[in-house]
Subunit: 218 residues, 2 copies
DNA sequence: GATCGTCTCCCCCGTGCGGGGGAGGCCCGT
DNA sequence: ACGGGCCTCCCCCGCACGGGGGAGACGATC
């Protein structure tokens, strides 16, 4: 049986885009749409979708409020994916606390969006971008347990941290300042990252980070 | 024969939405897509669409610049509809001055979007929302540039080519070999790219390329 | 004709980067 | 208790990188 999805966004164009992307998949079915969070609860009760794609910024009731409302009042609630334009740490944490299961970045490629919906439907809540995991780890009780392991590479924790900062354009000196270690230490980590990724320089490493999904655009 | 449309927006989701809305019409055909204004001119020359749906906010080259560039360099140019999220007076007036033929508001209903495209294709340029006419009336014949628009990243053909190769991890020497020019020439282009993108080094430039959709993962 | 933008090539020069090698402290697991 | 990752820091060194200049050739535009 297919994964059923409810779309909640005040912009018809975004709804149309999500519908087009999702309905291209044989195993995903968009069973309803809503233009505001205020309309979500009755629709969820009626349609009982597996996943709700929820915009954050809506006129009457925003996505955070609506997420809280659904999770508070609906028994056996659907997975909720928050649709965002930017990775805003502030509101990402709000959504996390409200109980959202993941994010759909508007900048993401269709395949990634489809993937996120499938993951959410399967109960897998590992689809948070890096910033969310950082926040979840930092704030602790935010909701889901934080994911520490990154199986994508055999990078150590520290090396992954360094790679993330490299992928944000920081120099070795800036990374050192950020991590409060010496520049020599950063150089060691960078060299290790390059060796493990088979990259010749930091640029190739960053490319690998993007291509592997280790970091995501947006 | 159908109305042909080129979609230019850095968000794949918006492109998918426009495509879904427009292709539902038998007399409208989406013949191409681009993720940044920098890619528009060659595409317009190649596809010769009737209408271009142009986003305003794009990383490398914004919709205003791209609109100017198209109208300045392409003979018998297409009608250009600027896609906006909000009715931003600033953008609206800039777009107007750049020569845009109309607007597509993301909040608009599909029928209105379709209507706007048909009107534009028919050469009717009366499809500005009320705010635009207000502005046009207020500023009259335009006694201002006012805000000196800082030169946005407007990459030349060659620079874009170099950036693409940078984003594939090539060194200056390798790019030189690929393009059959000297390494000095490549250095010149790289410096120009860095300056235009506001990047400090090639790594930051590559990051910008990914974040803007100028290159895409996978 | 003059001007502008683009592409091409060259110089010097400082430095950030990355390789190679080594080393001490720490917490694991066996 | 011992080895093995991991993180940390240090040395030397070569070089690609990038900035700041300048300049000639070509085409398009004015």
């Amino acid at each position: 049986m297919p994964v059923t999805v409810l779309l909640v966004d005040d912009e018809p164009l975004v709804r149309a885009g999500l519908r087009a992307v999702l309905e291209a998949q044989p195993d995903i079915e968009v069973t309803g749409e809503a233009a505001d969070g205020a309309a979500v609860i009755p629709l969820v009760r009626q349609l009982r979708p597996d996943v709700v794609a929820m915009d954050v910024r809506m006129p009457l009731m925003d996505g955070i409020e609506a997420t809280r409302a659904v999770l508070r009042t609906v028994p056996d609630p659907p997975k909720i994916l928050v649709v965002t334009t930017f990775e805003d740490d502030e509101f990402v944490y709000e959504a996390l606390r409200a109980g959202a299961d993941g994010f759909l970045l508007k900048r993401a490629r269709p395949a990634e969006i489809v993937h996120a919906v499938r993951l959410a439907a399967a109960g897998d809540s590992l689809l948070f971008p890096a910033s969310v995991r950082r926040l979840a780890a930092r704030y602790g009780d935010g909701g889901r347990p934080a994911r520490a392991t990154l199986e994508r590479a055999r990078l150590t924790e520290r090396e992954a941290e360094v790679l993330r900062l490299m992928a944000r354009g920081l120099s070795n000196a800036e990374i050192a300042a950020r991590l409060v270690v010496s520049a020599e230490t950063v150089k060691s980590h960078v060299s290790a990252v390059l060796a493990k990724l088979g990259a010749r320089d930091r640029t190739q490493a960053v490319i690998a980070a993007y291509e592997s999904g280790f970091v995501e655009p947006g």
